[in-house]
Amino acid sequence: MRQLVQMFAAVFIVAFGLMYATSLLNSSQGYSGGNTLTIYNWGDYIDPDLLAEFEEESGVKVIYQTFDSNEAMMTKIEQGGTTFDISVPSEYAISKMKEENLLLPIDHSKLPNLKHIDERFMNLSFDPDNEYSVPYFWGTVGIVYNPDLLEGEAPTSWNDLWDPSLRNNILLVDGAREVIGFGLNSLRYSLNDTNEDHLQEAKRKLDALTPNVKAIVGDEIKMLLANEEAAVGVVWSGDASEIMTENEKLDYVVPEEGSNLWFDNMVIPKTARNIEGAYAFMNFMLEPEHAARNAEYVGYSTPNKEALALLPEDISGDTRFYPSPELTEKLEVYDNLGKKMLAHYNELFLEFKMHRK
């Protein structure tokens, strides 16, 4: 009995000691003070030096919290109970959050640097007049390939993925809209298609791809492709640029049938407390010099045209990540298909995953 009491006493003493140490550390870092700004962003999706500079310039202490999927982030914001001043959802999530009144409208007059954003990326279908969101990064979905591991030609289209030489050599990203989307694209349908026959046709075509698919994975896809675990991967362009910095043999192509054009935009969730700070932060990030540095750090494509001009030629002139106007014509932004349709896409994707070779 004495041993039990001793152990529990020790555990509680240590725990409270650690708690005290934490509160000391917290206050020494200024996290417990009043003037803080909570940013809810994807993991490692910002240059940390910029955060430090912003803190110094504005005197606001930044709390940087991260999420790994739009859905998890939305759940957190919807339930409330915690403060987020800034978040960075993808376009379909923005239209969903708008519908559910989770966002505060943005006052453009408080964002003088908004003028630096390329007209092409403003006023898009998911957020007319950018009433609720400000562009942060954009990109495409495409194919990363390793020329050394390919037996045939380098892929240029979605249909090249069905080539028998790629048996058990393709990694797919774990996203229903991405996979069903390229299935539709390979049949020259729109990736926003809701016609049941077209969807079933795409599903059957994808089932035929199963022998070539080695795995359907999440963020590990970057590591796996860089490690040459497979010859070909279907990924987002931002991931592709990271993979290619990691392993220079690899190359990226946006398939000729067309593909997805995606956006991550900054928004102010309804849970925001420090709204002035949120505007200051957005304006700071829209500053061309800052946006350029951020793009260089993160490796995604910047929508800021002044920033693009500041980037070195080998980045800004890279048509894989800043595609030509002809190709851009063929790219489509995901429409908000509504919950029912989205659930149906996911159901089809689930069936595809369960389809055995």
């Binding site: 152990m7 725990a15 550390l25 917290n26 803080t36 909570t38 994807w42 993991g43």
Partner: protein
């Protein structure tokens, strides 16, 4: 067992431990890789360890993780022991099985569901997300495993032991602290360590119920994983792992010495009498 059998037995145990520690050795080895990723070896560096100590936010998170783990396992152990006593108290089979099933619901439920339903629960009751909500949920999902660890010990305890104590005039409290608890001590320790394991390992539940800047190590690791785990996380894990190994071994030997001298003391006492 003969000599050959003993050697075979040792070989088996060595193999089991080798496999259990292989991935950990792998993680630890790469914490010294200057290449920056967990494949390919570029050279030896201590850079990642420096990075760990420079990152105050990470240190705060580590401390948070420990506070939550220790507090939640201690509290859930106490609750779990009470629960096991309660379940033992129920003599009839059907209600007891029903109670056990209720107890086990949280073990079977996928973390995502637990997380989501706790989140709804906390916001409904109006508990602010952060330290309190994370602590409460860790306590909540650790209780059943403690019960499962303690219950078999309680069940094998012969009722005559308690009766004997009662006959000798022991009060209910005395029976509990002098007979029952010492007897089920191994179960209590096992429960505590399992609770610690659950708490340190949990990601999904914490992810849902945390907020307002509060974070634990596993949540932090998951969110950093998007860019590929930085080797500073490997370095941190190496440090924590070595620290725990030392702690466990140190605790074990101190404990052994204490119990040995205690045993000797008891013997001495008997001799005098």
């Amino acid at each position: 067992m003969n000599k050959k059998g003993a050697r075979l037995a040792n070989l088996y145990l060595i193999a089991v431990f080798a496999i259990l520690y292989a991935p950990i050795a792998y993680l630890m080895a790469y914490s010294f890789n200057s290449g920056g990723t967990m494949h390919g070896w570029d050279g030896f560096t201590l850079e990642w360890y420096g990075e760990v100590f420079a990152d105050t936010r990470l240190l705060i998170i580590v401390l948070n993780t420990f506070v939550i783990a220790l507090l939640s396992s201690a509290i859930s152990t106490i609750l779990g022991v009470i629960g096991a006593l309660a379940i033992r108290h129920v003599r009839r089979r059907q209600p007891r099985n029903a109670l056990l099933s209720l107890n086990n619901v949280l073990i079977v439920s996928p973390d995502v569901i637990i997380g989501a339903s706790f989140l709804i629960l906390f916001t409904m009751i109006g508990i602010k997300l952060g330290f309190t909500s994370v602590l409460l949920s860790h306590i909540a999902f650790s209780v059943p495993i403690v019960v499962l660890m303690v219950l078999p010990k309680l069940q094998e305890m012969s009722p005559s032991l308690i009766d004997a104590a009662r006959d000798l005039g022991a009060s209910g409290w005395d029976v509990l602290t002098k007979v029952v608890l010492p007897y089920i001590k191994p179960g209590i320790f096992a429960g505590f360590f399992m609770a610690l394991t659950y708490s340190l390992d949990d990601f999904a539940v914490t992810f849902f119920v945390t907020g307002n800047g509060f974070s634990t190590l596993s949540v932090e690791i998951y969110s950093r994983a998007r860019q590929g785990v930085s080797l500073s996380i490997n370095a941190l894990s190496t440090l924590l792992f070595l620290f725990t190994v030392l702690l466990v071994i140190g605790y074990y030997f101190i404990n052994q010495r204490a119990s040995r001298s205690q045993a000797r003391g008891a013997e001495g006492g008997r001799a005098v009498r």
